[in-house]
Amino acid sequence: MSRRDRYYPRLIAWLRILLPLLALGLLSTLFLLSRNIDPSRTIPFVTDEMENRVIDQQVTGPFFSGATAEGDLISFIATTARPDPEQADRLLARDLTAHIDFLSGSAMDFSAKQGVVNDRRQEAELIGDAVITTSAGYRMTTEKLTTALDRIEAETAGPVTGTGPPGRIDAGKMQIDSDPETGNAHLLFTNGVKLIYDPAN
């Protein structure tokens, strides 16, 4: 065999050893030598918010709703709500609003800066610039309003003031309930009422 023939099988023999080694080397750079990426560091999050979120179990944008026996729909929405540290069955909410859709089609809204929802007593207190608006055109404000969660029953803690179709109304107290016969919602102003109606406007 010519000299070239002798080298050829030897060349193949060496190649059969060198090439796999080369491949192995290339492969290892993928795993052994590569920069190890730490998964926990790649997702950015704020650690302290995690702590207080876990501690006070704060919920953002909580929403719950229900219906009364007569079929009126009541729904409560808040920006945030968290359990009351002192009392277990109470929820402290911020910017609590309640919306009531009556079977008859009219509606009523309560809103306030703060809210305390008491599960056991099935009632919610709206505290701080509580505003009551009704589809009949009444807009009353008071300091604190307590409302039931599962039926149409609410009352202000103190004086209430505002406007309505008859004019400007001030009263010592206001209750909201539904009339047993007609089922219509009633605003009952008590403890002294003053209405000012201006025929001019």
Partner: protein
């Protein structure tokens, strides 16, 4: 027969604000009817109408008060004249007060009674209808 009588001493301006005070006010959200109860007093300028119960009746567009219905014994005072009746309907826009059921008007010492009386606050005049009786007290 009707007897017209002066009532109240001046022309009442019906565009003056009307102030209604009472112990309680109940408003039905569906029908919009508002009922004042508990010594209700309606004051407008010189006119003062008091009754145990007053219902507010709105105009069609629900934006204006058309009438105040005072029932259960209404007393209307304007200037130094006073009139009492079982019921009084005060139409704010027209300034007319219609008093019905044993109306009794006292003017100074004179007392007049009738079944039915309409008082026009804007002109300070009143018409008494039905059995009109006048009791003149002799001036001592």
């Amino acid at each position: 027969q009707t007897t017209s009588v002066a009532f109240g001493n001046m022309q009442q301006d019906t565009s003056l604000p009307v102030e209604v005070t009472s112990q309680e006010l109940s408003v039905d959200q569906e029908t919009g009817i508002a009922i004042f109860t508990g010594d209700v007093v309606i004051v407008q300028g010189e006119m003062r109408l008091a009754a145990p119960r007053v219902m507010v009746v709105y105009s069609e567009d629900q934006r204006r008060i058309q009438r105040l219905e005072a029932t259960g014994g209404a007393t209307l005072v304007s200037g130094e004249d006073a009139a009492e009746a079982e019921r009084a309907d005060y139409d704010i826009d027209t300034g007319l007060v219609v008093m019905t059921n044993d109306v009794l008007v006292t003017r100074g010492l004179n007392v007049m009674t009738s079944d039915y009386m309409t008082v026009d606050l804007t002109t300070g005049s009143a018409q008494m209808h039905g059995r009109v009786k006048t009791i003149l007290q002799p001036q001592e």
